[in-house]
Amino acid sequence: MKYEAVLTTCPYCGCGCKYYVEVVNGQAKRVMPCKEDPVSEGKLCIKGWNAIDFVNSPDRLTSPLIRDGDTFREATWEEAYSLITSKFKELKDTFGPSAFGLLSSAKTTNEENYLMQKFARSVIVTNNVDHCARLCHASTVAGLAAAFGSGAMTNSIPEVEDADCILITGSNTTEQHPLIGTRIYRAKERGARIILVDPRSIQLASIADIHLRQRPGTDVAWLNGIMNVIINEGLADEMFIEQRTENYDEFLEEVMHYTPEHVEEITGIPRNDLIDAARMFANAESASIIYSMGITQHTTGVDNVKSCANLAMLTGNMGKASTGVNPLRGQNNVQGACDLGALPNVFPGYQAVTDPASREKFEKAWNMHESIPETPGLTVVELLNEAADGRIKCMYIMGENPMISDPDISHVREALDALDFLVVQDIFLTETAELADVVLPGASFLEKDGTFTGTDRRVQRVRKAIEPIGSSKPDWVIISELARLMGSDQFDYESPAAIQDEIASLTPLYGGISYQRLDERGYLQWPCPTPDHEGTIYLHKGEFKRGRGHFFAVSYRPPAELPDDKYPFTLTTGRILFHFHTGTMSRRSGPLNKEVPTGYVEIHPADAAKLGIIDGQAVRVSTRRGTIDIPAYVTDRVPEETVFIPFHFKECAANLLTNPALDPIAKIPELKVCACSIEAIV
């Protein structure tokens, strides 16, 4: 009898809960929370408790697949590799490296993301590498980097419970980051004031001191309004503004237009509630802002993020414990995928590809004979647009499922169909993999070593608990083998630990991180530049990364698509507690699927009555992009004239409906607002 409790990190959200996986005779049997883990403290959400379920699903890919007409046939690794390398070489010779697009994965490890961008930049020689951060926090990375010099969560999860005031907006924290929800509950218990700004009456509304329900897409307006009140009532932290920031005057001039009366007209938030919230936030000793997709997934995503940064600086809530601007990252390793350069504009550690010194550094380290392009590559949505237009010919997608996750998926399908050659590497035959020419079976988080970086910049170990299922292989092995077959001699790694050592040598943020230190300490929070550095709990202490914090004057712009006579409702989309993203993992977990077997549209009782819709009835939801049939959930969680659809479910996919209009800077699509119509299906 062999029994082992293997300590690893959860593959669902960005909280970064560590737990034990109990392995009996080589089989993963149970999850047991780890009481010494500083994030979860021995507690888990329903996804964490059931995180090993999908690993043993009979749907797991166990062998490479090669397209054979409308279906696939099983193939050996040699055969699959040989087809891929000959097609890659042929297409590179014919169309050049810029005809390639690579999607890395926020689900895979740091080491694998590092290798994917290294493969793109040194083997294909293109910067066309991106991943789903584009769809969630691209606006955070751009907005916070511009304001502070670093695009990550400023403070840490455990600090949240000690804040005196927490403003939560566009984050359904208890559902999407349950173990951060725990900290909010604790803060409330201690007497902290909770301000919730969200159109929907989510679970946190029950403990909120103030709940402001803005019209979707009006965030710049209410944020400017709150700051207008703070300034007019003399509650701004003038010393902080004077000593630590710049460009205040230009910002001030803009904010002065946003009187509570004006803001009420735009947002629908009663002026007195706005004033109360402003006072509550500004008067707190330490106030923390928590936000997520409700802020970022807009054509004004970067503006929204900059406004959050403005509010934190205006009140001096930066560079101190239990304060800051805290974007909650959605995926287990979306922070790491960004950190390791799976982005078209930066190398690992946010070193710009436009910087000649950085290019030279990586070209030299990777022993390259060709030059890395000096301009940033294409982003996710741009890549797909270019594929549809015939300019991108070949894509290599690892652990992403744009056929469910991206806006306007009819268009995504056209784009992927138009490719000359598509390789998808995943643990399941996803909706995207179904369109591939070659499918490579990856190993799950339980079957490999590596690291994930949680939302609070916390780098933690993923440890191999069981052998890979079937003939699947860890992604780091697959990328390395492909790179070697493409002729590179720079992908000889004995283990993920060796890859981390290379990362540390090239990435100052991760410079002091090694497997040995992670084993000893459990985690390290970046920046961690040297082997004797303790890591960083909160950023911008004493000085901002960029020197002075920059105030941006931000004016309100309405969403790209507003309701009209034909499409009178506002559609907003998101996740729910019981499922994750495209459902690839969570829908293959018995207990999760039992809770919520399919999608639904939340509609207010008054709207439902007008349209003659009863709870549970099938309805038809249409936008300019598409139409779905979906059961109605009649509930006052949503306000009137706004409906909500979770995007996990392919049979009623919210992203057939959503608007691919992009934020001009971050290129994030407006997944949170579009106009729709609803009718009962009789």
């Binding site: 149970r30 009481k35 010494e36 959400c45 459990g522």
Partner: protein, 258 residues
């Protein structure tokens, strides 16, 4: 105390007919359950209050019912084993208890009802131990109590952690997942039925270890509930779960037709 435990463990592991010891080991800075099968492993065995080893025993015996195991047990873990045996989840004959006593800090942290096992082998049983008896809660009126629970249970995010962490929850089909009683996929779960089902299902088995409360991400004070239930069971039926192998759970009827 670690040395004392390791000495006792080494002696027991050397006995004929012991396949291994279930206990806790320290590794990578954290403590975790371990199956010790070799004397050399014992150097990392530790006394620690943190993990429900009885559940590990159940998992291992499920896999191989012929295993002969010794188990390092605190008071609550011994009570768990007794309940698991009474409910035919393990064969108590296959288990040798290595009893360890908890210190007063641990006992206080858990608000333990009896911080030592009957088969004590390592450490000294705490004497004159008195626990918090939830006096503030008892002083509330019925209405206040209802409001209190409503507020607390509204935070529940249906992780099922209270059930999953419970050493005496072992049903294959759980009534909490039965949509006849609790609507699926809704947050918070229906008040008060979800929590009532759980409370009543463990009423005759709850050994007051506090794992449910420790596992709760919403910070719901579940120990208050379990303590009062245990108290009722004792007052009404002179029954205490986990006290003895011979006591019958009074809330389970054993009729022929069942």
């Amino acid at each position: 105390m670690n040395d004392e435990l390791r000495t006792v463990a080494a002696e027991i592991l050397a006995r004929d007919g012991i396949d291994g010891i279930v206990g806790l080991k320290e590794m990578h800075g954290t403590v975790r359950p371990c199956l010790f099968t070799d004397a050399e492993q014992l150097s990392c065995m530790v006394v620690d209050s943190r993990y429900p080893v009885a559940s590990v025993v159940r998992l291992l015996l499920e896999e191989d019912p012929d295993l002969r195991l010794a188990v390092v047990c605190r008071g609550c873990e011994e009570r768990s084993l007794i309940e698991l045996a009474k409910n035919h989840q393990i064969d108590i004959e296959s288990v040798t208890v290595i009893g360890i006593a908890c210190d007063s800090d641990t006992a206080k942290e858990c608000n333990c009802s009896k911080p030592y096992p009957d088969s004590l082998m390592v450490g000294t049983a705490l004497e004159n131990w008195t626990r918090d008896t939830y006096a503030t809660y008892r002083q509330m009126s019925g209405e206040e109590k209802l409001a209190f629970w409503k507020e607390q249970l509204e935070k529940c995010n249906k992780c099922y952690g209270c059930r999953n962490a419970c050493p005496v929850c072992f049903c294959k089909e759980c009534e909490l997942e039965n949509s006849l009683w609790v609507k699926r996929g809704r947050l918070p779960p229906d008040f008060p039925i979800y929590h009532l089902i759980r409370a009543f299902h463990v009423a005759g088995k709850c050994i007051d270890c506090g794992e449910c409360e420790q596992a709760c991400p919403a910070g719901i004070p579940l120990m208050t509930l379990s303590h009062l239930l245990r108290e009722d069971m004792e007052e009404l039926f002179d029954y205490m779960a986990g006290r003895s192998l011979d006591e019958q759970n009074p809330v389970i009827t054993k009729e022929e037709y069942e």
